[in-house]
């Protein structure tokens, strides 16, 4: 795990991604310090362009876009990360059990995984959300987590199947370790890189899905999040009126967190799957190979 972190920090892309993510998280954490005042207070005229006083301009209701942007990051990031973690836990558990148990359990779980995988997610989310009326962040989290675990489950299952017949697993079973121990103590640590990829991918998906649902008006309109900001901006025809700052601020926030996560995931992918490596890592590897060949006495 430590060596994984070290490789991660050697990659420029991953470092750039981590910086973006950490900066946004710090902004959310210190919202009361960097943007004092209530995000839904009316502080100016309608749709004022950015000025020194309102650096990101104001909304149609005369609310400060900067304050909303900073405070909105709290719910958006919290829900995104928490949902991503929930998706990963469900997917990993189902994949682990299916891959390890085999037989009928596997057949049933695999069937369920593939079936949920082919059902279009967003229409299903809209069905659930529209019957539930407006839904708070917790309900959005539950709805997304329940419909989007299959990707991770599939990956985890095939990896578990590859591992389950290795000697160390057989040995653990022979000395009579209970199944839960084999699963969580023996197998799970070997799946960590995969779980990392799954987690980052799930957070990306959760941010996208949450934004989409809130933009469509299923969010709680009283909560300030990047998604409801987009919804309110859309409803006040901000784009047609030329109030680009009203849409631009939350859009930039979502695009930034997506960018940061994507950069980290790209590097994760390269670590877990060295074949895909490009750029400095690959050149380093080629150079290493050449040196190794030379040290073998130049016998090529």
């Amino acid at each position: 795990m430590m060596s994984g972190l070290k490789i991660l920090l050697q990659q420029k892309k991953a470092v750039a991604g981590l910086i973006i993510i950490v900066a946004l998280c710090l902004m959310a954490l210190f919202a009361p310090v960097i943007a004092p005042g209530a995000p839904s207070a009316r502080v100016g005229r309608s749709h004022q362009p950015p000025t020194v006083e309102h650096v990101f301009g104001t909304t149609k209701m005369g609310r400060d876009v900067y304050t909303q942007f900073v405070w909105g990051s709290r719910t958006s990031l919290a829900v995104g990360f928490a949902t991503g973690i929930a998706i990963t836990i469900v997917g990993t558990a189902i994949g682990l059990i299916a891959g390890y148990a085999g037989g009928r359990t596997d057949a049933a779980l695999d069937l369920a995984t593939n079936a949920v995988l082919v059902i279009p997610n967003i229409p299903l989310l809209i069905l659930l959300a529209s019957f539930a009326g407006t839904v708070g962040p917790l309900a959005i989290m539950a709805i997304i987590a329940l419909t989007s675990w299959p990707w991770g489950a599939r990956m985890t299952r095939s990896q578990t199947m590859a591992l389950r017949n290795r000697d160390f697993v057989t040995a653990a079973r022979m000395i009579g370790e209970p199944a839960w121990r084999v699963l969580f103590v023996e197998l799970l640590p070997n799946l960590l890189p995969l779980i990392g990829i799954n987690l980052v991918g799930s957070i990306i998906y959760a941010v996208v899905a949450q934004t989409t649902l809130e933009y469509l008006g299923f969010g709680d309109p009283l909560q300030v999040t990047w998604g409801t900001m987009l919804y309110n901006a859309q409803n006040s025809s901000a784009i047609i009126l030329g109030a680009w700052w009203d849409i631009g601020a939350p859009a930039a926030g979502i695009a930034l967190i997506g960018l940061g996560l994507a950069l980290v995931n790209f590097t994760f992918d390269e670590i877990a799957n060295p074949q895909l490596r490009s750029g400095p890592a690959l050149t380093r590897w080629l150079r290493l190979n050449r040196q190794r060949n030379r040290s073998l006495g130049g016998a090529r």
Partner: protein, 327 residues
């Protein structure tokens, strides 16, 4: 032609799941959707309409199994109920109006992205570690992570509102009469450009990433070395030997991504006010037009399953190993 019974089982379970969700969700929700819908109908709430809605959403005195059987009978006869918003139109009529537009949008975007994405992926794999690869490949991953909402809104603002290069709504110029002529086709094409370009970045990113990794492993195969040794041109080896065989995982991925494509088209249609299924779903969800929302889920599930089946068949045709397995 060969499709494994296992795959068919998956499709059957997926369809059953969608149907059961449609049946149970309205019955489980707190509050009564029936009252909300009758209120929505307002003066149009004839006794017949109220009766139809009650039967459909479980506000009747009948055992749950009988209700479910009734529901299935309705589905089998393509009776999806009546729309609350567009009453007395039926759900089937409402959906039929918009399906073609979504199909046009989605198929165009997929075709365009498939060509661009696989080509970018193939070149990136061919020159792995080169400048092209180090720029294009991370960019593709980022494209997958940016929600369609953001791309749609930015495109609308920049190219629609500010530069006025493209129209900001509708599928064709409303002053034109629909017909098969160049002016109308041109208008349809012109109105589709921004929505298609909005749907594409995600797809191109996915296709590029899958194609690149699949192509990298194919390029390691002996027959590729053999092609090079024969002195074939780089283009022949790359496209005829490499890309052709690397396409299979891309096709699998395409089938799995269709659900996400529909999700993207929903958002795109809403932003560009494009009269497809997505916009219909949106107006339905704003009006709490539950029958239309349910019909939508069913239709999109069926479309995804159909497309998956199609990919399964194509897969069997182009992969000789599967053909042999069925013999």
């Amino acid at each position: 032609m060969y499709i494994s019974p296992r795959r068919l089982g998956v499709y059957a379970v997926a369809l059953a799941f969608a149907i059961v969700m449609n049946f149970t969700v309205p019955r489980l929700m707190p509050g009564s959707p029936v009252d909300a819908m009758i209120a929505q109908l307002g003066p149009r709430a004839t006794p017949a309409a109220i009766e139809a809605i009650k039967a459909r959403f479980g506000a009747v005195e009948a055992p749950i199994t009988a209700q479910f059987l009734d529901y299935l009978k309705g589905l089998a006869t393509l009776d999806l109920g009546v729309s609350v918003k567009y009453y007395p139109q039926t759900v089937t009529e409402v959906l039929a109006r918009s399906t073609l537009w979504t199909l046009f949008l989605v198929v165009t975007a997929i075709t365009f992205s498939l060509v661009v994405g696989t080509l970018l992926g193939a070149i990136a794999a061919w020159r792995r570690g080169g400048r092209f690869d180090t720029v294009v490949s991370p960019f593709s991953v980022v494209m997958i992570a940016v929600p369609p909402v953001i791309i749609a809104l930015s495109a609308l603002f920049v190219f629609g509102v500010s530069l006025r290069w493209f129209p900001v709504g509708y599928a064709y110029d409303p002053s034109l009469d629909p017909g098969i002529n160049f002016t109308f086709a041109g208008s349809v094409f012109y109105h589709a450009i921004l929505p298609v370009l909005t749907l594409s970045p995600y797809l191109i990113g996915e296709f590029q990433t899958t194609m690149r990794s699949s192509m990298i492993s194919v390029l390691g195969e002996d027959y590729v070395t053999m092609g090079r040794a024969k002195g074939l041109t780089a283009a022949t080896v790359m496209l005829g030997y490499g890309a052709r065989n690397a396409m299979l995982p891309v096709l699998t991925n395409l089938a799995l991504m269709l659900g996400a494509v529909f999700g993207g088209s929903i958002v795109t249609e809403i932003v560009f006010n494009y009269p497809g299924l997505g916009l219909t779903l949106f107006t339905a969800s704003v009006a709490r037009d539950y029958p239309v929302i349910q019909g939508q889920l069913l239709l999109m599930t069926l479309a995804t399953l159909g497309a998956n089946l199609l990919v399964d068949i194509i897969y069997g045709v182009i992969d000789p190993r599967l053909r042999d397995a069925s013999a």
